[in-house]
Amino acid sequence: MAQSMGTAIDSLNAAYNSNIIPNQEYLLQGSILDSAVEVLLHRLRGLCDNVDSSPETFDDHEMCFSIRVMNTPPLVLRVRRALDHPEMPWQLRYIGQPELGDKSRPTIVRSSLDIGTSSTVVEFLTELGCHLDFEYITKGYMFRKGRMKITVSKIFKVNQGNEGGSDGSGGPPKPLSQSYLVEVSVVAHNGLDAVAEDVRAFADQLRPLVLLDKIDYKRL
């Protein structure tokens, strides 16, 4: 038993060192007003793979937990579940600090780890000592082009009585703004600048409908 565990850890380390685990996300974000989102959806439908199938919709509820350890910045963990597919596992996600880089870097690079979990993850995190910072519901469309994932989504506020909109007791969730958030991202392992170039090239094709760019959260 010990031997098999040893080999498992060894193989994990080897995998980590040999750069095959996809733990970096190359990302570009932008927004578009509600009045123009139909045009964007049509264009994305033409540009992305699988033109024959209608765009995939999604309806997710995301909760953001944070835990404070002394003298270090708080660790932020996100728990996301699909409201329209309740049988799919919940997702625990860690997103690292985004590196914007200089002008030569086409996209934001941030480390991203996501793990499938059961629905007890909220209880688990609460037991660990995490607090719920905020939560929201996001609904929209997903597209795919090669390795890139493009999402066009609208953020909604969670109604208190609603618990994610499954039952209609609190009423439908309210949108936060009159616009949609557009994101283009690729999750890959370290050091793939060609992928970032591809993301930038694709984002340029969506101009002038939506300007996708590196967003610096600290300067917002």
């Binding site: 999604f58 699909a82 997702q91 996501d114």
Partner: protein, 640 residues
């Protein structure tokens, strides 16, 4: 050597030139006559002055009187009394005033505050503008004539083409081509792609084709066409020509044969296409050419994939790949042969060996192969989307769930394994044969056995690897009395039979097993039917046995029997059914007819025990079928 040159010495011209006419003639001022000379000299004398002063002032006055406009103020000399130079003095003063005024005006104008000098507009010179107008008109006329010539030429050529619609325009053809195929312009040639790469294929061979203009016939163009009867090509042709790569030319298809075992495994040859549509015809339309090339590429990819799998798979009887044929064993004694038939137009005629296998070409399996490859392509492009949306694209739903449900290594390995194309097509072929055999067995039994009727209903919905058939065994005229049903699931290499009473029986691919089963079921049906009939007739059911342990051992199945008693109890019928020898019926009477009290058995009451059974000659019995006969027998034995 010095030559003497005549030199003429002349005085210079004394008279001034007054005028030079246009033809170069000089007109001299005529020399002064004597009187004129004298008056000129006299004018120079100032008679009003004294001689000495006159002499001094003369030169100054004369100089003033000669140039009267350019003098400055210092020459102003005020004369106290009038004298003969007064007019001169007045004139000078006037001149001075004028000059002063002029200088003041100039000074004021220079300041530009109160007075400004503006140029007086010149009158337009009409003569020059007309020249310009004429020049421009001529230039425009020249340009217009060039343009009109060009337009005229275009119009005539367009009308020509509209009249001879035989050869359509290159650009319109290109537009049509572009609507169907992907084209790209590379340097100065047009290149297209007919492979399935964007549909998900990962095959290495490219499907590039080139588009060029078709050669122009000498009669086309701006010259008026000669009479259409001569030198016109038989077919109109199109304006563009596509060049497909040489390995994709021609027509190809995948031939699938199922045949029984040959003694010599390599003897089955697949003949190349005997059926028409050779594409040697260069005038074939580009759409058909491209479609044929695409089909060739698809068949090549399919065959390549199958051949790779045939070599890699470990089967109990190994698959053989020879040339462009793959041979796989489907069932013992039956082989599946998949071959790639590719005929280019340049081949010689195929040898006239009669292709009897050609009629065996299984179109259904060929279509299945195409569908399977298309499914592989589809899976390569349509990856499931992640839910929730922040997940990774790619893992299937099972794979996503594998983490939370703590799947072990074995489960994960199972998830990665899938069936290859060859395995799938072999399974489909196996199922096809199983179905065929099952149909044959059921049809044969239905033809042979008339007494209970065998009715089989095949399910309309089935899959390529599973079908179901429901079999009803019933007697004609008594179908409401008793009916035995069973369902047979036909799989790839086995059959599963589910009976009404819950028994499940698994059979192998041998058809004899199903036949035996059906026969057993038939005779069990008879016994059950007799029991049901007895209920209808009012006869009592005394006992039955599905697997009788008495009597001779049956070669097939077990005998079954039942014993019935009449309503009054005085008659007993015993029936024994078994698949090999059929039906035996015997009857007994309750009060024995042949009771005689003997030494051991003295009393009369023992006659009620019942007599021995006497067999009925069943073939002489009246009745259409077994149940009918039983009914009549029961009816005849019933005594009220």
């Amino acid at each position: 050597m010095a030559y003497s040159v005549n030199i003429a010495v002349e005085a210079p011209v004394e008279n001034q030139i007054q005028e030079i006419t246009y033809d170069g003639q000089e007109i001299y001022q005529s020399p002064l006559s004597m009187s004129e000379n004298l008056s000129k000299l006299a004018q120079k004398i100032d008679f009003t002055k004294q001689l000495a002063e006159d002499v001094k002032k003369e030169p100054t006055d004369s100089s003033e009187s000669c140039d009267d406009e350019a003098n400055s103020k210092e020459t102003l000399t005020y004369q106290s009394s009038l004298w003969p130079w007064d007019s001169v003095r007045n004139k000078l003063r006037n001149a001075l005033t004028e000059v002063c005024v002029l200088s003041d005006v100039l000074a004021v104008a220079k300041e530009k505050r109160y007075l400004v000098l503006d140029p007086v507009p010149q009158e337009p010179q009409e003569v020059k503008q007309m020249v310009q107008v004429f020049a421009r008109k001529k230039a425009l006329a020249g340009a217009a004539s060039v343009l009109l010539n060009g337009a005229e030429r275009l119009r005539t050529s367009h009308n020509e083409m509209a009249r001879n619609r035989n050869t359509p325009d290159f650009h319109i053809e290109l537009l049509r081509l572009r609507q169907n195929w992907r084209l790209k312009k590379v340097s100065n040639s047009i290149v297209g792609d007919l492979s399935y790469r964007t549909a998900g294929s990962k095959y290495a061979q490219t499907g590039m084709f080139e588009v060029t203009k078709a050669e122009e016939e000498p009669t086309a163009g701006s010259s008026p066409p000669p009479s259409p009867t001569n030198a016109a090509p038989p077919k109109p042709g199109s304006a563009l020509r596509v060049t497909v790569p040489s390995e994709l030319q021609g027509v190809a298809y995948i031939e699938v044969l199922c045949q029984k075992d040959q003694e010599d495994l390599c003897s089955s040859t697949i003949n190349l296409l005997g059926s028409g549509t050779t594409s040697t015809n260069p005038d074939v339309h580009w759409q058909q050419k491209l479609e044929a090339a695409q089909n060739v590429l698809f068949c090549k990819e399919l065959f390549n994939q199958l051949a790779k799998e045939a070599v890699q798979l470990q089967a109990p009887i190994p698959h053989m790949v020879v040339g462009n044929q793959i041979m796989a064993t489907v069932l013992p004694g039956i082989q599946l042969i998949i071959g790639l038939c590719h005929s280019t137009g340049s081949d010689k005629k195929p040898p006239p060996a009669p292709p009897p296998q050609k009629s065996d070409h299984d179109h259904v399996l060929e279509h299945s192969l195409h569908q399977l490859l298309r499914e592989v392509h589809h899976r390569n492009t349509h990856h499931p989307f992640p839910h929730p949306a922040s997940g990774a694209i790619g893992p299937s739903k099972k794979r996503c769930l594998a983490g939370p449900i703590a799947a072990d290594r074995y489960d994960l390995l199972q998830m990665t394994q899938g069936q290859t194309l060859l395995e799938q097509i072999i399974q489909q072929a196996q199922h096809f044969f199983m179905r065929l055999r099952t149909e044959y067995v059921l049809d044969t039994i239905a033809k042979e056995v008339k007494d209970p009727l065998i009715v089989s209903h095949w399910n309309a919905l089935n899959s390529p690897t599973q079908s179901c058939v429901k079999i009803n065994i019933m007697t004609h005229g008594y179908d409401t009395v008793c009916r035995t049903s069973l369902v047979v699931h036909v799989g790839e290499k086995s059959l599963k039979c589910v009976c009404r009473d819950g028994r499940v029986m698994h059979m192998s691919y041998e058809p004899q097993e199903l036949r035996d089963l059906i026969f057993c079921q038939i005779y069990q049906h008879q016994i059950n039917a007799v029991q049901a009939l007895a209920k209808c007739m009012g006869w009592q059911f005394l006992s039955n046995s599905a697997h009788l342990g008495i009597g001779a051992v049956e070669p097939l199945g077990n005998a079954s029997s039942c014993i019935l008693a009449s309503p009054t109890g005085d008659r007993i019928i015993a029936v024994r059914c078994e698949p090999q020898t059929g039906v035996q019926v015997a009857i007994a009477q309750s009060p024995r007819k042949d009771f005689f009290p003997g030494q051991l058995v003295k009393e009369r009451k023992w006659e009620n025990l019942g007599g021995s059974f006497k067999e009925v000659r069943w073939d002489k019995m009246e009745g259409k079928n077994f149940l009918n006969k039983m009914e009549l027998l029961m009816a005849s034995l019933t005594s009220s």
